[in-house]
């Protein structure tokens, strides 16, 4: 995990209870208890917003939308601690100073801390769980609608979905828990349940069991500050419920969330995920010459909005309401965009390429050869989604799995079951500078009639289009069109321009269909035994080639 460089003090309240862990045993003394009690009193006051100065949504609720981040050291150790190598010092955020462990659990916590370099789930880029994701030193963005509050995190493109209705899926647990929210006056209260027992609270080995239950309280103190309190209940690990408190501060320096995909950065650094010099962005200092084969011709038939075939739901502002849980009926696009037969365990596909009219990708010769080379067992390892990396654009829209579409004020946001997000601002802003390249690119959106048009640039060229290795590069730009056909169907089209790989633009189209049940969580990396198997197959093939020389 990357440490923060924010020397600013954390919320004042937790500071009053600072007890460095080296002195924690002193808490047993009467003198220390007096100091702690003073802290508890200071913190037990319910936070109150300063009144009319807080922003509110159209329905009168406190408006939490925006980019937020902690300025504390809770992600290193919730309890007060002095600095050590790789650990920045910080005062406790726990009310009362110390976490009330049962004796066995206090010992386990010490053992966890001793082995944290390898035992910390986040050291392996596994999902941090809740509440840890909230105070890792990365920005996150809150999106708010009456039915759902979404949180998207820069760290590994993780998201949280807080439903203001419904009930958790029974008999299934999640790395990030199940979050159900409600408003208590001006405070958003979220019950987080259905946790697994694999996440920690911090780098210092503070932990819980699967019996963990959280109650989070978010209170907007002023336009730029959220007071965040979490009451932790876990009768298997603690002697009583305990509470942590801190503040989130509005981030104004960055207009959008960028990306820190923990496991792709680790794997690129270690060589486990290898650079493809022909498709990856070479950096702003390298001049890219576009090949002469490219002709940016218009499609054979000009684009026309598909006609609706039923009632379209609309938002109060009259724009189509595309919100809900969806699955793409993408006709096997994740196994080949063109029409293809079933090949062993690779499903068939009906073909989703609508332009060019022949239904074939207009690949340049080198790219045709590269696509064939990628579709071999020894290259199965190289598909970024086999590593559980985010799928890029347009693959995010047809990789198998549920997605949720949200339309908070000013944005369209998609959350994907396999832990990825796309944020599409509708405010007409410019794209990021060309040198800023991202896995999911930089998207901007606008409405053309009832069609949502999304333009995506700044892609890093690391994604594949699908499992069979169909290819795109960093020169890729995508225009997507989402048009509601009826209350439960959205027609999706994407036109891809990639002058390094293709001879002309091409377009895919398929319907996206509403689902009755909610999106769940796919913790991909955390249970990804396949990657090792695919690596063995690749390594065997490489060894065979070496022997053959």
């Amino acid at each position: 995990m990357i440490g923060g460089g924010h020397p600013s003090p954390a919320a004042r309240c937790p500071h009053s209870t600072m007890v460095p862990s080296v002195y924690r045993h002193l808490a047993r003394t009467v003198a220390a208890i007096v100091v702690l009690a003073a802290g508890v009193t200071a913190c037990s006051r319910a936070p109150a917003a300063t009144g009319a100065s807080i922003p509110r949504t159209a329905d009168g609720k406190p408006n939490l939308q925006g980019i937020w981040q902690v300025r504390n050291r809770a992600s290193y150790d919730l309890e007060g601690h002095v600095a050590s190598r790789g650990m920045l010092a910080g005062t406790t955020v726990v009310q009362g100073g110390a976490i009330p462990y049962q004796p066995w659990a206090a010992e386990k916590r010490i053992a966890n801390a001793a082995s944290r370099q390898t035992a910390d789930p986040v050291a392996g880029c596994h999902l941090p769980g809740v509440p840890r994701i909230m105070y890792m030193d990365f920005p996150f963005q809150i999106f708010q609608t009456p039915e759902h509050i979404a949180m998207t995190f820069e760290w590994s493109l993780v998201h949280r979905r807080i439903a203001m209705n419904g009930a958790p899926a029974d008999g299934i647990d999640f790395w990030m828990g199940d979050s159900r929210g409600r408003w208590d006056g001006d405070t958003l209260v979220v019950d987080v349940t259905h946790h697994n027992d694999k996440t920690w609270f911090d780098m210092a080995g503070n932990f819980h069991s699967e019996a963990l239950q959280l109650v989070e309280r978010y209170t907007l103190m002023d336009a730029d500050t959220i007071n965040y309190e979490v009451t932790v209940t876990d009768p298997k690990v603690f002697t009583r419920p305990w509470t942590m408190a801190m503040r989130f501060h509005r981030v104004t320096e960055e207009p959008r969330l960028l990306e820190y995909q923990c496991h792709s950065e680790d794997e690129e650094a270690s060589g486990a995920f290898e650079r493809d010099p022909r498709t990856w962005y070479p950096g702003p200092s390298v001049a890219v010459t576009l090949p002469p084969q490219w002709k940016d011709e218009a499609p054979a038939t000009p684009w026309k909005a598909p006609a609706p075939r039923g009632t379209i739901k609309r938002l109060p502002d009259g724009k189509p309401d595309l919100q809900g849980f969806f699955l793409s009926d993408a006709g096997g696009a994740n196994y080949g965009l063109g029409k293809h037969e079933r090949d062993f365990l690779t499903p068939e596909g009906r073909g989703v390429i609508v332009d060019p009219p022949d239904g074939l990708l207009p690949l340049q010769e080198w790219a045709k050869a590269e696509t064939v080379a990628r579709n071999t067992p020894e290259r199965g390892y190289d598909d970024p989604t086999a590593h559980c990396f985010v799928p890029g654009v347009p693959r995010s829209m047809y990789v198998p799995g549920y997605m949720q579409i949200l339309q908070p004020p000013g944005y369209v946001v998609t959350l994907h079951e396999r832990m990825a997000w796309r944020i599409v601002p509708l405010d007409g802003r410019a794209h990021l500078p060309d040198g800023m390249r991202l896995w999911q690119g930089d998207s901007t959106g606008r409405w053309e009639g009832d069609t949502l048009v999304i333009e995506t640039t700044n892609l890093n060229g690391k994604a594949w289009l699908n499992e069979v290795g169909e290819i795109v590069s960093h020169a890729e730009r995508v225009v997507e069109r989402l048009t509601p056909l009826d209350a439960d169907t959205i027609q999706y089209e994407a036109t891809v321009r990639d002058p390094l790989v293709y001879t002309r633009p091409w377009t895919i189209a398929f319907p996206i269909k509403r689902q009755k049940d909610e999106m769940l969580e796919v913790a991909c990396l955390e249970g990804n035994d396949d990657l090792q198997h695919l690596k063995e197959i690749r390594d065997q093939a490489r060894a065979k080639k070496r022997r053959g020389r």
Binding site: L345, E467, V468
Partner: protein, 134 residues
């Protein structure tokens, strides 16, 4: 060694019509169409995880020694949506699983169907709705 209950490895000769399975990686890359496999063995471990769940059974190897085989199924979300429950699989019971072995030659395979002691058959992959892709 409690090996008396173990059935031997049976390599089936016909390639079964494998169900459509969706993946986060290429199944065709990981598994071998020329190595269809049907094994009977005692359930020793279940990992109910995403992106794919894993079922471990112990079968009698050629020399009579128990071998641990890992079988890949759909992820827990897909199994959940198909109506699977964790209680469907009981440790210590005998399962018959068919599918395809990994190309690497390791004791790893992709499961097509799982037959329980009571004869109930569980489809191990993802459902294949109309349109060819879930």
């Amino acid at each position: 060694m409690r090996a008396h209950w173990l059935a031997g490895i049976v390599f089936v000769t016909a390639v079964a019509a494998a169900p459509s399975v969706t993946a986060h990686h290429s199944f065709s890359a990981e598994f071998d169409a020329n190595k269809p496999l049907k094994l009977k063995g005692k359930l020793t471990e279940v990992k109910w995880v995403n992106p794919h769940s894993w079922i471990y059974i112990e079968v009698a190897g050629k020399d009579g020694k128990p071998e641990k085989w890992a079988w890949e199924t759909a992820g827990i979300n897909n199994l959940y949506r198909q109506g699977w429950k964790k209680t469907d699989l009981v440790l210590g019971t005998v399962l018959v699983i068919d599918g395809f072995q990994a190309r690497s030659g390791a004791r790893v395979a992709n499961a097509s169907t799982i037959t329980l002691e009571n004869g109930k058959r569980l489809f191990a992959g993802s459902p294949a709705p109309s349109g060819g892709q879930k």
